[in-house]
Symmetry: C2
DNA sequence: TCCGGATATTAGACAAAGTCCAGATTGCCG
DNA sequence: CGGCAATCTGGACTTTGTCTAATATCCGGA
């Protein structure tokens, strides 16, 4: 993806290009995710968006993240049973999860190869393949 | 792993061989998991164990599953943000998750090959590699 | 400009999964 | 039997996320 500055104005364009009506709150949430290129949980998004004074409700944060997900603007990463992370990087890639710190980072899919997967059951389509490497600091 | 009958007596041996004191409740929980070779959530385990009349408390089910996990008797599978599954199959394998039904099944690791993973960050050891194929019934 | 409907947002009640704790039980050993 | 350690328990609590009914905002047309 071409490099760009993640200004709030650009966010509006990004949202529109994904068929999302760019409202105030949606722009803030998109900005939170895209300006840091990080994996954030709903909680973290809420905290960021509401730093100064409360601006966006919990319901809206959840609604918006779900909407972004449906529209393919972000990806969901399920590595920790206690919370879901949202990933602004939608290009194919995998994840490295540091179990003890909770840090989550990307592994480019380019050079990784997965082969020998059995055929899918009839009438099924793949929705996605998640590869998660769980690591821990050496004792 | 050699085939065997998952009787309650054998469960006691299995627990002992994993350095777990085989109590009544632990045997029941192990039996629930190993007699059906399925992925069960804590809820499901509790339901199975307490079919006739309530016998085992929620706290014990959670404590016991966590203990089994630490002792390497079962594996945790995180595919659904709303619940964790416990997998009595600890041999290396991957998972196929049917998103719409919630069904989870095994993919033998034998013929699957993953290559080209980047080197780990210094001082880190791999705790496990989870490969999850998410599928959905074709529309 | 004003109106009306569609779209968004909100607070707060609610639900589900999981944790925690202090007290009761159990099992074992002398 | 008495006592100690390990285990189990009910129930309160926390966290993440969902739902709902009411309100606010936006926008196009008269």
């Amino acid at each position: 993806m071409a490099r760009m500055h993640y200004t709030r104005d650009n966010m509006a364009g990004l949202l529109r290009s994904h068929d999302i009506n760019p409202t105030h709150q949606r722009i803030e949430i998109a900005h939170a995710l895209f300006s840091r290129q990080e994996h954030l949980s709903a909680d973290q998004v809420m905290a960021i968006v509401n730093t100064r004074h409360s601006e966006t409700s919990k319901a809206t944060v959840y609604n918006t993240l779900k909407l972004f997900l449906e529209k393919g603007l972000v990806r969901e990463v399920i590595v920790d049973p206690s919370k879901v992370f949202f990933d602004p990087n939608t290009s194919p890639h995998h994840h490295l999860y540091e179990v003890d710190t909770g840090r989550l980072s990307d592994i480019d899919a380019e050079q990784v190869q997965i082969s020998g997967l059995p055929p899918l059951p009839a009438g099924m389509v793949t929705e996605g393949i998640d590869l998660i490497v769980r690591v821990r600091r050496k004792a």
